[in-house]
């Protein structure tokens, strides 16, 4: 992998003293290649390499018996620094219910993740309400309702109401009135460039006042991750991110792009189709995965 490649490069120049501009460039090229192959956005890679270069130039990598390993350590720790501290949980509001709103592109895993978030709090003895606010996709309400049944968790019944904004507002009020600890709003997938649908999310946020607005993003997303994350964050405002489908072999570089452009914490990861496939985000494990 990257360590052995860097070992080969750095061992060639060992004995020529500390790292300087020219001896470091080949190593930086290998790191850049690894990150691009991992789907990190090329602009994010450029900035990242700049930071690594500064740290590597000042370091004693060449003093080490294993310079490749030392170099990778610098890269790894720089990745961890950007991806943030380990998140232990979503914070519950001191004034229940805590309203959690899930947003994102079509098919990223929001509805399934809504079930997982609900399951997570339910297992911790919290009273949870699932809110199906996707009235557009065929059988979306049925999908979330079925997940609720599987988990023995209540699903808000919107009756004849089809407007997602009114549904979320009414559900939020009902959750407060009926003493729920958590309400999870599952919204319809949408494009970040669809201004009508992005405005709909703004309205939901304004009316339902969620404590958390989480971008549900697919781990296999490529270069477009920066556009998606930037738009959702600028237009709606995010409080965090959930990365899904990490049980595959995607390197997941999108997470670095998302963190770099939004600065928002990665709260959880989805690691499978079952409702208990839900874990806390570990930046150091993610860093190793991205570097391959």
């Amino acid at each position: 992998g990257l360590t052995s490649k860097l070992d080969a490069i750095l061992k060639k120049i060992k004995g020529r003293g500390v790292l300087n501009e020219e001896t470091i460039s080949e190593s930086l090229r290998e790191v850049r290649l690894a990150l691009l192959e991992a789907d990190v956005n090329f602009k994010v890679v450029k900035d990242f390499i700049g930071n690594v270069k500064e740290r590597a130039l000042g370091s004693d990598v060449m003093e080490s018996l294993t310079p490749g390993q030392q170099f990778v350590k610098i890269v790894h720790s720089e990745l961890c620094r950007i991806m943030g501290e380990k998140q232990t949980s979503l914070h519950l509001s001191p004034n229940p219910p805590t309203i959690i709103m899930l947003v994102g592109l079509q098919g990223s895993g929001k509805t399934t993740t809504a079930g997982k978030v609900a399951n997570y709090f339910n297992k911790n003895n919290k009273k949870v309400l699932l809110v199906p606010a996707d009235t557009r996709r065929p059988a979306a309400v049925e999908q979330l309702t079925l997940l609720g049944k599987q988990l023995n968790i209540n699903t808000y019944n919107a009756g004849e109401e089809k407007d997602p904004v009114r549904i979320c507002k009414a559900a939020s009020d009902a959750a407060w009135k009926e003493g729920y600890d958590v309400a999870v709003l599952d919204t319809a997938g949408r494009l970040h460039i669809d201004s009508d649908l992005m405005n709909e999310l703004k309205e939901i946020r304004a009316k339902a006042a969620p404590h958390e607005v989480l971008l549900v993003a697919d781990a296999m997303t490529g270069q477009d991750a920066v556009n998606i994350a930037e738009q959702f964050n600028n237009e709606i405002g995010l409080t965090g991110v959930i990365l899904t489908k990490l049980d595959g072999d995607a390197r997941g570089g999108a997470v670095l792009s998302i963190k770099a452009v939004t600065g928002k914490p990665i709260k959880f990861v989805g690691t499978g189709e079952k409702l208990d496939a839900f874990e806390v985000f570990y930046p150091d494990r993610m860093a190793s995965r991205i570097l391959g």
């Binding site: 970040h192 296999m220 490529g222 477009d224």
Partner: protein
């Protein structure tokens, strides 16, 4: 796109960024850049306009190359036309959430509109409300959906659907499958079994195995193609969600390596948002 006249190092770097930003990938981008450098060396390329034209030609050629080779028989173009390959069977596969079920709804609408007799199979017996979702699409398209209860063995449902398709003498049968990550061996085995079952009922089927790829996917699309193709064989690709900002450049490397054609692209969530793949339009939008 580049605001200058002649081809220099900076030009090539800017071009490389555009291609990587379009998810073309490092390897495929490097190959294309190398070909450009050789042409510049041999003085066959000297200015920017010639450069983008040449690059577009190269990519277009890659995307069009499979059209002339190893294509399955086309679906019957009129109702009841080709006796030998009726029902014409299409299996739709791909990882989770890429747009398989929605694309089948669009395909059903298209083929029904061409006067064909279409039957759908709700082969996703795993995911919550997957059968209901396909049934809505079936009623939108005005076609029947063969399904069983959730939790049924997908091979059993597919067996039913193939038998029904044969008995009813329909023109086309389109089979929906559950989303699955290509790395899950047991799920790939399940897919292989589905293919065997189809072949037992309808000896020369499936005629088309379409892999659905999401345009927002990065380099992982290559791994998806590789494993699905090794698993049950992919005869064609449909790229969905090209109505977003992702360019879907990853398909260039995939078509180059696996030589399978991109048949159609999905450009929205409505029943008519499925158009035939056009290499010229695709290449133009890559550099737009």
């Amino acid at each position: 796109i580049l605001g200058k006249k002649e081809i220099d190092k900076e030009t090539l770097e800017r071009l490389e960024e555009i291609m990587i930003g379009a998810d073309i990938g490092v390897k495929a981008t490097d190959n294309l850049i190398k070909r450009i450098e050789e042409k510049v060396q041999r003085k066959e390329l000297s200015d920017i306009s010639g450069l983008t034209g040449y690059l577009k030609d190269e990519i277009r050629a890659i995307l069009k190359s499979p059209q002339s080779s190893n294509n399955p028989p086309a679906p019957p173009s009129t109702k009841g036309e080709i006796e030998g390959s009726r029902p014409y069977v299409i299996v739709v596969i791909g990882v989770n959430g890429v747009g398989k079920t929605t694309t089948i709804g669009k395909l059903a609408h298209r083929y029904k509109g061409e006067g064909k007799d279409v039957l759908l199979c709700a082969g996703d017996t795993f995911r919550a409300a997957a059968i209901e979702q396909l049934q809505v699409w079936g009623s939108r398209a005005g076609v029947d959906v063969i399904g069983q209860k959730a939790g049924a063995d997908p091979s059993a449902v597919v067996f039913d659907a193939c038998t029904a398709a044969k008995q009813r003498g329909v023109d086309m049968l389109i089979i929906d499958t559950a989303g699955r990550l290509h790395t899950k061996v047991n799920l790939m085995e399940e897919l292989k079994k589905v293919k065997r079952v189809i072949g037992k009922v309808l000896p020369d089927a499936p005629h088309e195995t379409l892999l659905i790829l999401d345009a927002t996917t990065g380099q992982n699309a290559i791994s998806q193609m590789r494993l699905f193709n090794e698993g049950i064989g992919v005869t064609g690709l449909i790229i969905t969600k090209l109505d977003g900002t992702a360019k879907g450049g990853i398909v260039i490397g995939i078509v180059d390596e696996f030589k399978r054609p991109i048949k159609m692209i999905g450009v929205g969530e409505d029943v008519s948002d499925l158009i035939d793949f056009n290499a010229d339009d695709f290449v133009d939008s890559l550099f737009a």
